[in-house]
């Protein structure tokens, strides 16, 4: 074990760092874009009936294919990975944002309007806060998925924990595979825990309910 660590510790730390950055960056981009689009769609539910099914079809394209295609156009740069991961991460957040807002009971929207809130105020003070549990739920799904999708970065030689796994697979080195897989799993769990914390902080108890 100590032998293994002295051999691979540097590589592992670097891979974990890269992987972590990929996840943070692409989920952040996705979050901003998805919440923005989700809000837009909630203003125009008729568009949503077209856009959301379209996106969900897109979501079924395997990540490996998509990264491969992007690689052809953009080359071996981190942007390729970030774009691919962001696009995949958008959908769960977008959908949950849209649904969360749409499902805010009319009575609250009407009360907000009747109190004299402008449309923006209704959105920021009532709709978004009430949709927040759903939005954070989407964020969690996206983040956990992105941790695993980020493994694909290694496929086009851009590092991350995938590098260890691919190296392990091709050299028949089980220890190396674990060195990539276990930190990835732990990373997913940690992200999930952090999001839980954020959720507890942001959402008042009565709105949390149980489950996700």
């Amino acid at each position: 074990m100590s032998n293994f660590l002295s051999l691979y510790a540097d590589r592992m730390i670097k891979a974990i760092g890269t992987h972590f950055l990929y996840v943070i960056a692409s989920v952040s981009i996705a979050f901003v874009v998805a919440v923005f689009l989700g809000i837009l769609l909630s203003r125009k539910p008729s568009w949503a009936t077209v856009v959301i099914p379209l996106l969900s079809v897109f979501q079924t394209i395997p990540g490996i294919v998509f990264i491969g295609v992007l690689f052809l156009y953009l080359g071996m740069v981190p942007a390729t990975v970030l774009i691919a991961l962001s696009i995949y991460a958008i959908f769960p957040i977008l959908k949950n944002t849209y649904v969360g807002i749409i499902e805010v009971p009319t009575q609250y929207k009407e009360a907000a309007k009747g109190c004299g809130m402008s449309p923006i105020q209704v959105l920021c003070r009532v709709e978004l806060p009430l949709a927040l549990p759903s939005i954070i739920g989407g964020l969690r799904i996206s983040t956990v998925y992105t941790v695993s999708w980020a493994v694909l970065a290694a496929m086009i030689g851009l590092g991350g924990l995938g590098e260890l796994i691919y190296a392990g697979v091709s050299s028949n080195n089980n220890a190396l595979i674990f060195a990539g897989a276990i930190p990835a799993a732990i990373m997913a769990i940690l992200f999930s825990a952090v999001i839980d914390l954020v959720r507890k902080k942001l959402i008042p108890k009565p709105l949390r309910g149980d489950g996700k």
């Binding site: 009360a111 809130m117 003070r125």
Partner: protein, 373 residues
């Protein structure tokens, strides 16, 4: 304070409000009532421009509201909705402060308002201010809903069936509380309900609507007494003045053992009869037993010497009623007329008896407490 001028609203072909004109005075508690779909809620929502009429003008405080900014307008008018609509993501304190915050009150002002408001409904600040709506009972939630509407002290408060979802007990308590608050704070309130009891309990003025028209606009008393339409009467159900009593007619109140005499009998004879029967009045009839009038001892005393028969002495104007007439009508004549009794006639104009205050009291007592007295 609030004036509707020829306001109409339709959705497609269906006319929701049909050329409404009415006025609600400052400090008045006006209740809009009617069957569902009558336009009462629509009327209410036109006041804070949640709904825009197709035609006509609405004036609040003399100003045409279609020319005021609708957001400003809504901030100056309190609004309470049926499902309460407290924001579940906000505490009681935050909910109460929604409008003050929109109006950019200072922190100190808002905290003062919350304290005052909670005091109004006897909910201690320490216990309730930081609770979320879901931690309150339905009655408490709607109290906060009312406070939220009052927080920025709007002169006008609109309430759309605010107590519809509450149990009858809580409902009555809140009705009284809101009525007291309204009196205390001098608010003009427009209140929508479909419950006539609620309307009668709270209103200064009831506006009864049906199919976009106003059928009647009156005080609760007036409406009880003279419902302008079958529908209104049916809404009030058995809530008429005699609602607690079984329906009674004159027959239930009369005493039949009356002393009568014929119109052609002599004065002497009549005095004898009164003396013997120990009465001061005789009821006078024709030979065919039909009613003529009444004869009182005082009249005989005054003018009796000059006449042989009683005919010129008979009072032809004493109140009468028919035996099958509704009791309230007869009683009204007895209580508000000049005569100390009413002669009750059969439909063929023969004499059935009379109603005196004593016979009335006895019959009423029987009706209320049974025949045990």
């Amino acid at each position: 304070m609030i004036r509707f001028e020829n306001v109409s609203k339709s959705y497609g072909d269906s006319l929701i409000l049909n050329n409404l004109s009415f006025e609600i005075q400052k400090g008045e508690f006006a209740v809009l009532i009617g069957p569902s779909g009558c336009g009462k809620t629509t009327s209410l929502k036109t006041i804070n421009r949640l709904i825009e009429p197709n035609q006509g003008k609405i004036y609040v405080d003399g100003k045409d509201i279609s020319e005021t900014d609708r957001i400003e307008l809504r901030r100056s008018i309190g609004y309470v909705i049926q499902q309460i609509g407290l924001f579940p993501n906000m505490t009681v304190e935050q909910n109460i402060c929604v409008v003050p915050k929109l109006l950019k009150y200072s922190k100190e002002e808002m905290s003062k308002i919350v304290h005052e408001m909670l005091e109004l409904v006897n909910m201690p600040y320490e216990d309730y201010a930081h609770k979320y709506p879901s931690e309150l009972s339905g009655g408490q939630q709607q109290r906060i809903g009312v406070l939220r509407a009052l927080a920025a002290s709007p002169p006008i408060v609109l309430m759309d069936e605010p107590f519809g979802a509450l149990d009858p007990m809580t409902r009555t308590i809140l009705q009284d509380e809101v009525r007291n608050l309204q009196k205390k704070l001098g608010k003009t309130i427009v209140f929508v309900t479909h419950d006539m009891d609620e309307a009668l309990n709270m209103a200064d003025k009831i506006i009864f609507m049906d199919q976009g028209n106003i059928l009647q606009m009156a005080t609760p008393d007036e409406m009880l007494e003279n419902p302008a339409d079958e529908l209104i009467a049916s809404f009030m159900g058995k809530r008429g003045k005699d609602s607690e009593l079984p329906s009674l007619s004159a027959a239930d109140f009369l005493r039949a053992d009356v002393r009568t005499t014929y119109i052609n009998s002599g004065v002497r004879e009549s005095i004898d009869k009164m003396a013997r029967r120990r009465v001061d009045t005789l009821i006078v009839k024709n030979q065919d037993e039909t009613y003529v009038g009444t004869l009182s001892i005082s009249k005989i005393k005054k003018e009796g010497k000059d006449h042989k028969t009683i005919e010129p002495l008979v009072n032809l104007n004493n109140s009468t009623c028919y035996i099958d007439e509704d009791a309230p009508v007869c009683l009204d004549r007895l209580l508000h007329g000049d005569d100390s009794y009413i002669v009750v006639l059969n439909r063929d104009n023969t004499i059935a008896g009379m109603i005196t205050k004593t016979s009335m009291a006895k019959a009423l007592a029987d009706a209320v407490w049974g025949d045990s007295l």
